[in-house]
Symmetry: C2
Subunit: 108 residues, 2 copies
DNA sequence: TATCTTTATCGTAATATTGCAATATCACTT
DNA sequence: AAGTGATATTGCAATATTACGATAAAGATA
């Protein structure tokens, strides 16, 4: 194992933030999150057209977002309805804000 | 070009957030930022021992952080003094908070 | 049941990231 | 000028990510 991230040498907090940040580290996932949150009825069928990536790629990105529990998905008829998981979303915000708070710039 | 991120199809705002998030998307960089911010005199010579990665790897991570202007570096004798760039740091915070604010979970 | 629509998965190619040994560079000291 | 200690760069191997065509699966509808 050479090119793999050495997660084991870092604290849980540092890894948690890194994993969360990684989800936001691709413009497609940022765009997807923003689009889903803006939809009234959150039918995500048109995500492929809106974003401009192929259906498998969109599905893959959705999976990345789902991995950290940020999406709730339910079937409404033949269409899948993806929504932001509010609790997880708050949690994510907390993780970032916590990190920002802890950084104090008291030197130089 | 097949496996490369298609940055050109996304908005500037989405790309900016993604680039910023990418810097935080590795536990080493999170740990480095936190460590530097905690130091009184910010001599970062001991970063290699503290983090537990090789000197070239640390240097590389520092470079990633520098790329988005998050570090100010000045030489103090033979030692390099890295500090958080306060203005950029505030800017970064703003970018994330803006994104969090814009997400409204008004469905499902 | 057959067909249509939508999402998921598989397989694979291209590119990016991570990590380190070796080496270079740079500033200070003697 | 030579030596020392600290950071940067180069080169390369291992792994991860991104993207998409092809195909599968799942539910609705005729």
């Amino acid at each position: 194992m050479m090119g793999a991230t050495k997660t084991h040498i870092f604290t849980k907090a540092h890894n948690t933030l890194a994993v969360a940040a990684k989800v936001l580290a691709h413009p497609a996932r940022v765009a997807i999150l923003q689009y889903i949150s803006k939809q009234e009825n959150c039918i995500c069928n048109d995500l492929v057209d809106v974003i401009g990536l192929s259906q498998p790629t969109i599905s893959q990105h959705l999976n990345e977002i789902k991995k950290i529990g940020l999406l709730k998905g339910t079937f409404h008829g033949k269409n899948l309805c993806y929504c932001i998981n509010t609790e997880k979303w708050e949690e994510l915000q907390e993780i970032f804000q916590d990190f920002f708070r802890k950084i104090n710039q008291n030197c130089c």
